[in-house]
């Protein structure tokens, strides 16, 4: 079947199972869906389906499975790795209209929600019971819980409260052949394999999440934040290790480097010290007594580790302001250049100083500035590369620098992605992190869930063929006199 005949057939079929206005197929209507948060990658899908019931999702998947048409699930489209990038021959399946909070169960401390519910909306709905949903990506006002599950999203509170995978109790999914499957529930465990672990972070490749039961936690009685400034990043790194070595697990522990501090300060006027090489934000939460006890200890540790300045937020307003600077670091840095490219590696924390120094060298080599924000507690680094897409070749240069940074993370014993996922973006770097035996195992697992390979094909796990090409190019490139000419 050629492209237009296929498109006609798919649209005619889907139109029968969807309400009016729930199927888009004219180019101008498809445009808003051509990319996710990683706008450098764009593609129009065959069509966009916007079901509002689980039955409709199931019917769509069954129909696509019969025709062998690819399906790309999409939540809120805030993903940063091109996970929801449409497939030209496929249906983009938006879960955004499945946006009901089905119920809050305060006794069992959990919430049942549809996948399109926004992350923050769960905590808002749970608030009257003194409960909240812990994982808090900076995108939490917009991103969906379905997307969070698919990416195993984190946030600034993961070291203490875990990632999405630690906060999901149950899932309802539609499998690749259109069956409805219940996984887990409200109890602490369930029989059989840990499918919750396999599904969480699977980037829409193993199943479509149509309902989730998430764990809720009691709101801590109190939270207080300490801001510490350092004139040297390695001292800030030492301070992080010292806090943890003292037996304290902060609710949040974030670091920003000089460029990020300046950008954030210009943007929100949080009162950050502009002459610092790095600042740490260390938030302690828990009972009143515990916070009081630990806040003094943390202040003391910061001073001992050579902080040039230590401030405790004097009230809730100042605490919010300290955090606002950090939480808006991406858009703030975004104002420094026409475009920025956000990376997401994780490293063993003890290698921080060395990694930042190497990033600095790379930044000079590529002549693109890099600002660093860092989930310092858990080693998740977000270098933000500044560039101008209108300058010919600069996007490619930024991507190449990004790739080099990720490979650096692997080299020091870390990973190419801590929370944003592989998607389309880091597919080549997967070849650096994993050997062919591991990749083959990933493909086998995928085939167990999706034998036809119709769910989000081409993402997250590269083919061995692709890796062979990338590997060859890599070796090749090191020998080339004009590395900038070589593009993949």
């Amino acid at each position: 079947m050629n492209q237009s005949a296929l498109k006609e057939k798919v649209i005619a079929g889907l139109a029968r199972m969807l309400p009016e206005n729930a199927l888009l197929h004219v180019d101008e209507d498809l445009r808003p869906y051509e990319c996710d948060g990683l706008s450098a990658y764009r593609q129009l899908p065959l069509c966009v389906a916007l079901p509002d019931t689980v039955e409709q999702v199931q019917a769509i998947v069954r129909f696509c499975a019969q025709l062998g048409v690819p399906i790309v699930p999409r939540g809120a489209g805030t993903g940063l790795s091109g996970g929801a990038l449409p497939n030209a021959e496929g249906v983009l399946l938006s879960l955004a209209k499945l946006n009901k909070i089905i119920g809050i169960d305060p006794d069992n401390r959990c919430a049942r929600v549809q996948p399109g519910v926004r992350n923050l909306a769960i905590s808002e709905a749970a608030a009257p019971h003194g409960l909240y949903y812990a994982p808090d990506p900076s995108s939490q006002i917009a991103c969906s819980i379905g997307g969070n599950i698919a990416e195993n999203s984190g946030g600034v509170h993961c070291l203490k409260y875990g990632l999405t995978v630690h906060n999901i109790l149950g899932l309802q999914i539609i499998t690749a052949d259109g069956e409805l499957l219940n996984i887990g529930g409200t109890a602490f465990d369930s029989p059989g394999y840990d499918l919750l672990a396999m599904l969480t972070g699977s980037e829409g490749l193993l199943g479509i999440v149509v309902e989730a039961t998430v764990r809720l936690l009691p709101r801590p009685q109190r939270a207080q934040v300490v801001l510490a400034a350092f004139d040297d990043v390695s001292r800030a790194g030492d301070a992080v290790a010292a806090v943890i070595g003292a037996g304290i697990i902060p609710g949040g522990l974030e670091m920003m480097d000089r460029l990020a501090i300046r950008a954030a300060e210009d943007f929100v006027h949080a009162g950050y010290p502009l002459d610092a090489a790095a600042i740490l934000l260390c938030e302690l939460d828990g009972t009143n007594e515990e916070v009081s006890e630990y806040i003094l200890k943390v202040r003391d540790i910061m001073v001992r580790c050579g902080a040039t300045e230590v401030r405790t937020a004097k009230d809730e307003k100042e605490r919010a302001l300290f955090w606002k600077g950090r939480k808006s670091a991406f858009p703030a840095v975004g104002r420094l250049a026409p475009d920025y490219y956000c990376m997401d590696g994780t490293i063993p924390r003890q290698r921080l100083a060395e990694v930042l120094a190497t990033i600095d060298e790379l930044s000079q080599q590529y002549q693109l500035p890099v600002a660093n924000v860092f989930h310092a507690g858990d080693g998740n680094l977000h270098p933000l590369i500044l560039y101008d897409a209108n300058r010919p070749g600069e996007l490619e240069k930024a991507e190449e620098l990004g790739g080099a940074i990720l490979e650096l993370c692997v080299r020091v014993g870390g990973t190419i992605t801590g929370e944003h996922g592989v998607g389309m973006e880091k597919i080549n770097q997967m070849c650096v992190q994993f050997g062919s035996a591991e990749l083959t195992q990933f493909h086998a697992l995928k085939a167990a869930f999706d034998p036809q390979g119709i769910l989000n094909p081409g993402k997250a796990v590269p083919t061995l063929h692709r890796c062979a090409e990338y590997g060859a190019m890599h070796v090749h490139r090191n020998q080339l006199p004009f590395p900038e000419l070589e593009r993949f």
Binding site: D107, N108, R109, H129, G130, E151, N152, V165, T175, L181, T186, A187, F188, D189, P191, G192, Y193, D194, L195, A197, M198, G201, S202, R219, I244, G245, G247, I248, I249, G286, T287, E289, E290, S292, E293, T346, I347, P348, R349, G379, G413, G414, T415, I416, T417, G418, E419, V422, A437, E438, Q441, F442, A444, L445, K446, A447, A448, P451, A460, V461
Partner: protein, 353 residues
């Protein structure tokens, strides 16, 4: 016994078994065999593959070989005032790390800190074709590829032989106290879950049939303050008590007769099955000793939104709760993806796997 890396030897054994299609029964310390019973296959022993590979206290990560005795890990962590926060139950000095993770065994802290699977950061393993694979790593956050290392927890060795496991570790809470309060079962369930929903530093909540037992852990000042607020009687030999709930050495478990482990949403009201009960995990984990039939027990658990595992006296009933047919089909495909000739721990979890 000394530290030892048996990767090559274990890999050779698996490769040979793969070639010949021989079933292998993976044995760690062998301490869980009374419970798991006999399972098919030629024994392959991991206990000789032992030792701590690396431990970086301020990175909160330890990597050890699967045959490392749990006691050795505890000792290394204790030197730095750290701990495995999921409180793995020990069934004797031979209990190995690999066995604990393979069974996803977690102690009383489970509802508050997480299960064994929540602390897995990475594994090195041998799959059913004899390949050595590495998934995850030694960092806290890692979403590259499917989370296979975490899924090894609770797979009872049916997907592969774990070689090394990297785990997140946490500081040991500086202070702890356990308080007890007499209560009827239904009120106990309510009380445990009400308190768990408030911001007390609770790290365990159980009900022994007469008393609600609450363990408070954290900063000294926080524990003292909460103790005052919750009231109740001080329990003196609490460490032993919580261990005995975790590894079933508590008096409740002694003697013969059927023993069931029922997992339900924690706030579930007492199930209407005649017999004796012990609740852990805020009521989420219920041990049952009584004469109800297996199908009645499973029906009660399922209706409540949970499942039941038979520990002893199963009278022909399967150990694990049977899976829904669709789920079983998927499990078979997953098993085949890792172990195409079905050589590992054949039939240990389910007949078909």
């Amino acid at each position: 016994m000394a530290d030892n890396d048996l990767t090559q030897d274990l890999q050779d054994q698996v490769k040979a078994a793969y070639e010949s299609g021989t079933a292998l029964a993976i044995v760690g310390g062998g301490t869980k065999q009374t419970w798991l019973g006999e399972y098919a296959g030629q024994a392959i022993h991991t206990a000789g593959h032992r030792g701590i590979v690396s431990y970086a206290p301020t990175e909160l990560v330890i990597t050890a070989r699967a045959g490392a005795p749990l006691a050795e890990i505890h000792a290394a962590l204790a030197e730095h005032d750290q701990t495995l926060a999921f409180e793995p139950p020990s069934y004797g000095s031979a209990t190995t790390l690999g066995g604990v993770i393979a069974c996803n065994h977690s102690g009383p802290r489970r509802p508050f800190a997480g299960a064994a699977r929540d602390f897995v950061l990475g594994v090195r393993m041998i799959n059913g074709t004899g390949e050595v694979l590495r998934f995850g790593g030694e960092v806290m956050k890692n979403v590259a590829g499917y989370d296979i290392s975490r899924a090894m927890a609770g797979s009872f060795g049916t997907l592969g032989i774990m070689l090394d496991v990297s785990l997140k570790v946490l500081p040991r809470p500086p202070a702890q106290v356990t308080v007890a309060r007499e209560q009827r079962a239904a009120d106990a369930v309510q009380l445990m879950n009400r308190w768990a929903g408030e911001s007390y530093p609770i790290s365990a909540a159980a009900y022994d049939g007469e008393r609600v037992l609450i363990r408070l852990e954290g900063a000294e000042s926080a524990v003292r303050a909460a103790q005052k607020q919750l009231g109740g009687e001080n329990v003196s030999d609490a460490t032993v008590l919580w261990q005995s709930l975790g590894n079933q050495s508590h008096g409740f478990f002694s003697g013969s007769g059927a023993l069931w482990r029922i997992s339900v949403p924690p706030a579930t009201l007492p199930l209407a099955l005649p017999g004796k009960w012990l609740y852990d995990w805020c009521g989420g984990l219920r041990w049952y000793r009584g004469d109800a039939r297996a199908d009645e027990i499973r029906a009660a658990a399922t209706t409540a939104g949970g499942h039941a595992i038979c520990y002893r006296g199963c009278a022909g009933a399967s150990r694990f709760q049977p899976l829904h047919p669709l789920m079983l089909q998927l499990h078979k495909r997953i098993k085949a993806a890792f172990d195409p000739k079905n050589i590992f721990n054949r039939g240990l979890m389910y007949q078909e796997l």
